[in-house]
Amino acid sequence: MQLKSEFLIIYVFGLATMGLMMGIACVVIPRLWFFLEKVYRVFVEYTPIIYLSEDRLSPVSKSRLSLVARKTLVLDMDNTMITSWFIKRGKKPKNIPRIAHDFKFYLPAYGATIYVYKRPYLDHFLDRVSKWYDLTVFTSGAEIYASPILDFLDRGRGILNSRLYRQHCIEQFGKWSKSVLLACPDLSNVVLLDNSSTECSFNAENAILIKSYEIGCRDEALINLLPFLDALRFMKDVRSMLKRCTRFESFAQ
């Protein structure tokens, strides 16, 4: 009888220990996985020697650069630089990405927590491009939503201070369009980088279309743009190049 009760105690204690261990594992493993994923993303983002480590210019290019005006690069935010995920309070999220978010904040006006996912190589891209162009962010998102995200992306560097929001867009057929004249009145010196051809329709000759960023996909679109944007700043009129784009021909017709 004594042996049986001792065995029972050991058995119950063993079960409790196993349960506790499994509970701890269930809590720790996802967090550890989350952390390791974040570390891996940082590693992937910063290890490749991606683009010219320093801006070496030949004397010819230097003199050319002094002849042309400094250009303005107008950047779209949603699906170009970041992708965000809204999770309403009290609602169970569906198909939430299984990737560590870069930034989250609560928006009382929407009653939702917003999870922000940066496009790969965004920091490197902004670092390089801010040396070549004056940057302006033009988003069709509301100011209360976009402003905290842009503050996070800027990281106090002061490169994303020029901002235009939904109130600066023009509504046509229920969709928002952007006029880059608000960012720079001289159309020969302004480039718009956007993922939506509708939003670019007013300034098709000044636009570069980039594919939309999908969370979790291997994406090198921003890195691939660097040589193009580097060469574009040497032109007197960016439209000499950008008007050649065939993607907007359906708009022209």
Partner: protein, 123 residues
């Protein structure tokens, strides 16, 4: 084509060629480093294997006696960690990516970064 357009495209091409050639030189340097380190590793690995066959001591003891192999192995690991495997193949990848980027503009580039104007597609 207007004079301004032509001048602009020439300036664009010049910078693109500069970028491509700089990347080529950089990749060439990294390939040389890669070759040298691999040769060093291979030679010292042969010595290490020969020593390991003769002695019965622990792997790490042999590794500490073969400082050349340990050093070259550590260097390779460090370089791979810092992404030099990307740097050695940087020039073909930058060419491919730029060609992809230029295709909607009816343009292409050759291996030297010179622009090739493509005709407008007629349907």
């Amino acid at each position: 084509m207007e004079d301004t357009d032509q001048e602009d495209l020439l300036a664009f091409e010049r910078r693109l060629a500069e970028v491509v050639n700089t990347e080529k030189r950089s990749s060439l340097r990294w390939r040389f480093v890669l070759g040298a380190i691999f040769a060093c590793s291979a030679i010292s690995a042969c010595h290490w294997v020969r020593d390991a066959k003769e002695s019965e001591s622990v792997v790490f003891q042999i590794l500490s006696s073969q400082s050349a192999f340990a050093f070259s192995l550590a260097t390779i690991c460090l370089l791979i960690f810092y992404g030099f495997n990307h740097a050695t193949k940087q020039d073909p990848s930058i060419l491919r990516d730029t060609q992809e980027m230029l295709s909607p503009f009816r343009l292409n580039i050759d291996n030297q970064g010179r622009l090739i104007l493509l005709p407008r597609q007629t349907e």
